[in-house]
Amino acid sequence: MSRRIIFNLVQVLVVLVFAPLASGVLSRLKEMVQSKRGPSIFQPYRDLWKLFHKDEIISEDSSWIFRFTPYIVFVTPIFVALLIPVLTNYPLFFAFMGDMLGGGFVLSLGGFFATLAAVDTANPYGPMGASRTRMVGFLAEPVFMIVFFTVSFVAGSTIPYIVQEKWVTPLANFFMPSHVLLVLAFLMLVLAEGGRIPVDNPTGHFELAMIDESKSLEYSGRGFALMKWGGYMKMFVLMCIFLNVLVTPWGLAHEQALGAVLVAIPLVLFKVFCFLLVLVVIESSLSKLRLFRISEFLGAAFITSVAAMIAQVFLP
């Protein structure tokens, strides 16, 4: 019992520690594709360190929501990391608290508060970005729903530990049309939710075109560091759900020993690295869509997810 609690905390620690690294590796790889040197892969850590040592300025006219939001944005990915398989393929101590749907709700809670905080200060760019995020969010919502429906339809459960086993037992299940199409649809969702390139440009500094970034414009110092770190962790958690639950459970620890769990860390990081390579290819070969074309991108994701469901229904 106590061992499972420890493993659970190790899982959270992995998310906390390696999420900025994933972001640093991604931006370094992107710069290398553009034949530049790029920042060090440890740059996000330095940014966080610097921001934690700076003064924080909060507008007098802002309410408690503005002050609380960084903590909520920071805590919700950690909370989800307790529920999902990051390192192990067996449920850990807190895993009973929620399934994939629950994890999705907890993640969107952070997004909800970030949106409220952006509106709270009445900075002109904040509400604009917030309303755009909501637009992307409500277009992505039906896709999420169909993905979860299909997952529970195919695997008979929305508990991530049961779902991930389903795709590889037997191995032929890996090639089920519903599985491959679900992976495609969820990949598009990760791009939309993480504010990656066909939907939003994470490196853009032009306020009028910002979607995700503009919500933290008003923050400074520690609040900004927490928002940033929370954003890194949200992306990392989304990647973990995508890679460990929907793609494959390969590389996760099977035995209940600390050694096995520690060995799983580099394997999972390697999987994340492979995914980052795919992400770099996507981000370097596509351009950002115009705002009103986003509905077509997410419409394609919706069609893919429904095709996954229909292909499953069509099987005799």
Partner: protein
């Protein structure tokens, strides 16, 4: 063959079916003629893959024949013929106005797919259990989506590809039901498709020469040359 291999083959076949369906959706929605052509090539490759997998699964040389004929005629000869016959500038132009906007068209395409389910499942239940699979409903869905492509597109080349996609859908359903089609029929169908492409390509070129555009959707507003002055007189009165 062992049970595991069979299951693997069936899943791979179903996967080809799922991607086939996705390509059909893409052909409804893609704006550019070149994208549409690429999706059609992908769809034909998936059809060939499905035929080869079913042939391997059921030890049928005829299905291998279908796969080979498909592999040669559609992904290779059709684009080549199109390039020979129809004007080059078609491929670079975007089709800005479709009959419906893209999300609406996609939703209607979804409704058609669900209709295909209600048509296809009783049909595949009517045949022996061995022949059941995702091919029949997905093929019917491909057929309907091809017909839908015909109704929403207004450019000549995507319209032609819609006709060919209908044929692809019919083939996709056909290879699961009629496993021992004589080679002659396959070859006849393949040549038929090529002749359609050739005629439509030449027609497209002629239309472009006379009218100056290949957006055939706009040609509904064309008037006969003789009718024009009569109308003006009527207006003058």
């Amino acid at each position: 063959m062992s049970e595991a291999t069979n299951q693997m083959l069936e899943n791979l076949n179903a996967l080809a079916g799922g991607l086939f369906l996705l390509a059909a959706f893409g052909m409804v929605a893609t704006r550019q003629a070149r994208g549409c052509l690429n999706l059609f090539i992908t769809q034909s490759l998936l059809l060939a893959a499905s035929a080869a997998l079913l042939g391997f699964r059921h030890h049928s040389e005829h299905l291998y024949g279908v796969a080979v004929v498909n592999l040669i005629s559609k992904p290779l000869v059709v684009p080549w013929l199109l390039r020979k016959t129809s004007p080059e500038e078609i491929y670079t132009r975007r089709e800005v106005d479709q009959v419906l906007n893209i999300p609406t068209a996609l939703l209607m395409a979804l409704a058609l797919t669900i209709l295909a389910y209600f048509l296809g499942v009783p049909l595949s239940n009517a045949v022996e259990a061995e022949f059941r699979g995702p091919n029949v409903p997905i093929g019917i869905a491909g057929l309907l989506l091809g017909a839908f492509t015909l109704t929403v597109r207004r450019e000549a080349v995507p319209l032609l590809l819609g006709v060919l996609a209908m044929e692809n859908g019919a083939f996709f359903a056909g290879i699961a039901i009629a496993r021992n089609l004589p080679m002659l029929v396959e070859l006849a169908i393949a040549t038929d498709g090529l002749i359609i492409v050739f005629i439509m390509g030449v027609l497209t070129r002629a239309v472009q020469k006379h009218v100056g555009t290949t957006a055939v959707g706009e040609m509904a507003t064309l008037k006969e040359a003789g009718a024009e002055p009569v109308k003006e007189e009527a207006v003058a009165k």
